[in-house]
């Protein structure tokens, strides 16, 4: 046989072996119905979801109004701000403290403060200032609104400044819009991103730790012995989750140290708030992972479920894109995810100094989520081999 013919034969044999493996993989894949469904479902769902949800120029941001002068001129300025579409002025603050509380607890993104004597001083030509306080923990969420507000001020009083007041319409605007970018005055992205990363990293690592815990026992055959022993599903679940709370605590420490030492992100609030709430978030994610491992029938499915969960957590939680920029349905969806609540918590505590009382809603949501996930896991856990 000549050498080229021999090489040809060897090549054909290699192709045949390749085809054998190819065929075997395909048969195994086809038999795994869950995976087959997810092959279609994952890209479709993610594309529809994020294509419609993401918007980097959020409008209708919740705004509180602190009016200390209720005259017609002040009202016109407020109306002009409302006209920009950026401000959903739905709250009235009673005092400065009240307004501060609202922004600290994430009820509002902006405060518009009309000072006392606004109208009188304006008429006197004193150029009074309207204060626009922006929660700048997420600079991308406020930059459009601030620009819109500045633009709207020029013509805000066009209609009112007639007759005797017409002189005020000449030259520069008769009042000033003073913007205060609170919590992140230099609009540094890392002040927003680094605390967000704490949540994202913990979501990813915690999920992976527990998402295989039940499928692993089933695939290794150890589940049979475990089920024959006098141990209850709740005990198995908690026993599998708790060690990773310790792991999560170590990761949390590392991340917080790096965030403060290398990225110089301040921790304005107290660690006594941040640590327990972070631990709660860790438990929430571990519970989700464990729930996935009871829902999946093999490790591949568990991985895919984790992935389905992880992407919306990145995109719909407010980590990469402003939460309030999303349509309502996407915000509702995002509100189910623990990361959404934890991002509010971690950013608020680190940058705004919020305490437990400011964050009770998000804390409650995390706790509720954890309990729901655990409930599903325990009821889904198959106690027999049926």
């Amino acid at each position: 046989m000549n050498p080229s013919k021999q090489a040809h034969k060897r090549f054909r044999a290699a192709l045949q072996r390749l085809a054998a493996i190819f065929l075997k993989e395909f048969l195994q894949l086809r038999r795994d119905r869950g995976t087959m469904a997810m092959i279609v479902f994952i890209p479709l769902m993610q594309l529809m979801l994020f294509g419609y949800a993401i918007n980097t120029d959020p409008k209708h941001l919740p705004t509180a109004l602190l009016v200390q002068d209720d005259g017609p001129l002040a009202r016109s300025v407020v109306a002009a701000l409302r006209m920009t579409d950026y401000f959903a002025i739905e709250r009235a603050a009673k005092s400065e403290e009240d307004a501060d509380r609202m922004i600290r607890s994430n009820e509002v993104q902006f405060i518009i403060e009309i000072p006392p004597d606004f109208e009188r001083r304006l008429v006197h030509g004193d150029k009074p200032a309207i204060l626009l306080v922006a929660d700048a923990t997420d600079p991308t969420a406020t930059v459009g609104a601030v620009a819109g507000a500045n633009g709207a001020m020029a013509g805000a009083l066009e209609r009112e400044l007639t007759g005797p007041l017409a002189r005020l319409a000449q030259g520069a605007a008769p009042f000033e819009l003073r913007v205060q970018a609170r919590y992140n005055p230099a609009a540094e992205a890392r002040r927003n991103i680094v605390p967000g990363l704490i949540g994202t990293i913990l979501t990813m690592t915690m999920l992976i730790y527990t998402s295989l815990s039940v499928t692993k026992e089933i695939e290794r055959g150890t589940m049979e012995t475990l089920l024959a022993m006098p141990v209850r599903p709740v005990e198995i679940m908690l026993g599998k989750i708790l060690p990773y709370v310790a792991v999560g605590a170590v990761q949390m420490t590392i991340i917080l140290l790096v965030a403060t030492l290398f990225f110089h992100v301040p921790i304005v609030g107290s660690l006594a708030t941040l640590i327990p709430l972070t631990l709660l978030f860790i438990v929430a994610n571990l519970s989700v992972g464990y729930t996935f491992s009871t829902l999946a029938s093999n490790q591949m499915q568990a991985f895919q479920l984790s992935f389905i969960y992880f992407l919306p957590s990145m995109l719909l939680s407010g980590f990469l894109f402003p939460f309030r920029g999303m349509p309502n349905w996407a915000q509702d969806l995002g509100s189910i995810l623990p990361l959404t609540h934890y991002l509010r918590i971690v950013r608020s505590v680190m940058l705004k100094g919020s305490g437990f009382s400011d964050l009770s809603m998000d804390t409650g949501a995390l706790a509720l989520f954890t309990l729901a996930a655990m409930y599903v896991a325990v009821t889904r856990f198959r106690q027999t081999l049926d």
Binding site: G221, T222, T225, A228, M229, P230, T384, L385
Partner: protein, 311 residues
């Protein structure tokens, strides 16, 4: 725990279990007395494992009822589990834990007062002390089996369910294993053990033969042999293979099977078999001697009649 064990440890009636359309266990009833070693025999796929799993609460029967250690197998699984040691067919302890860690884990799950001490005692009793810190995955088949037995006897159960515990284990380890089983039974422990080996079946106090999900016979070995009513000839000499083929086609021969150098020929009709022996033996180079049927003859006969595959 053994003191409070009822006289009848396993008492089930009409157990039935299907997977999909296949009936794996079909109307199975059995009783096992305290302190007995009860052998469970039958070909692969006959429903032995499924029956054992129903007894320890791992599977829910589709029909039937019964009790295990006096507790209802349908509703009181939480009472049964702490009192039963179950050894799975496939090694199912943690390969990435050491022997000691596996035993301590089991001791803790069962709530023993001193898990570390109990594991230590078990290590010594099982002769595993010098391997205590070896990972279970690295053990050979025989040691794995010994560890598994140690783990399921550790919590001092009243009933042991052993599912083909000696499959793939060498003869010496098998013998040691059975010595241990008999030792445990002598102390009042009840043992239900499934096996393929006839020598093991002969070490059981009682045996049950199950094929295609149905229990065909049960009792002591003598009872089973007697009730089978088989007459048996043992044929020795040359050309046994050929003779076997011919005998299998002969009416009146229920079973013809080679055991080493000897051909066992059995039939239910004794006088007919005598005649066959005479016909085939006359002038032939083989020697026909009348013998007592062995358990294996009975089982192979049962299996052939049940239409099952060979053991």
């Amino acid at each position: 725990m053994t003191a409070s064990t009822p006289e009848i440890v396993i008492d089930v009636e009409g157990l039935t279990k299907s997977f999909g359309t296949k009936k794996v266990v079909d109307n199975l009833s059995m009783r096992v007395e305290r302190g007995a070693i009860y052998g469970f025999l039958g070909p692969n796929g006959s429903g032995k494992t499924t029956t054992i799993r129903m007894l320890c609460g791992l599977l829910t029967p589709d029909a039937g009822r019964g009790s295990c250690l006096g507790y209802d197998i349908l509703t009181q699984q939480d009472e049964i589990k702490p009192r039963v040691g179950y050894m799975t067919q496939k090694f199912s302890l943690y390969g990435d834990l050491t022997i000691r860690e596996n035993l301590e884990f089991v001791a803790r799950i069962y709530g023993l007062d001193d898990p570390v001490g109990a594991a230590n005692d078990a290590l010594i009793r099982l002769g595993l002390a010098d391997r205590a810190d070896q990972l279970a995955a690295e053990l050979s088949g025989g040691w794995k089996q010994r560890l598994a037995l140690g783990a399921c006897t550790l919590p001092d159960p009243a009933l042991l369910l052993l599912d083909e515990p000696t499959a793939g284990v060498d003869p010496k380890a098998r013998r040691d294993f059975w010595d241990e089983i008999q030792h445990l039974a002598a102390q009042g422990l009840t043992v239900l053990v499934s096996t393929h080996y006839m020598d093991e079946a002969e070490r059981c106090h009682k045996i049950a033969y199950i094929a295609a999900g149905r229990l065909l016979v049960s009792g002591t070995i003598d009872e089973i042999i007697r009730e089978a009513g088989l007459a048996t000839y043992i044929v020795t000499g040359p050309e046994l293979n050929e003779l076997t083929d011919r005998l299998r086609k002969t009416p009146g021969v229920e079973m013809a099977a080679l055991f080493g150098m000897a051909l066992h020929v059995s039939g239910r009709d004794g006088s007919l078999l005598d005649k066959i022996a005479l016909d085939f033996g006359e002038g032939a180079p083989q020697r026909w001697t009348k013998g007592a049927p062995m358990l294996e003859d009975v089982f192979i006969d049962l299996m052939i009649r049940a239409g099952g595959a060979p053991l």
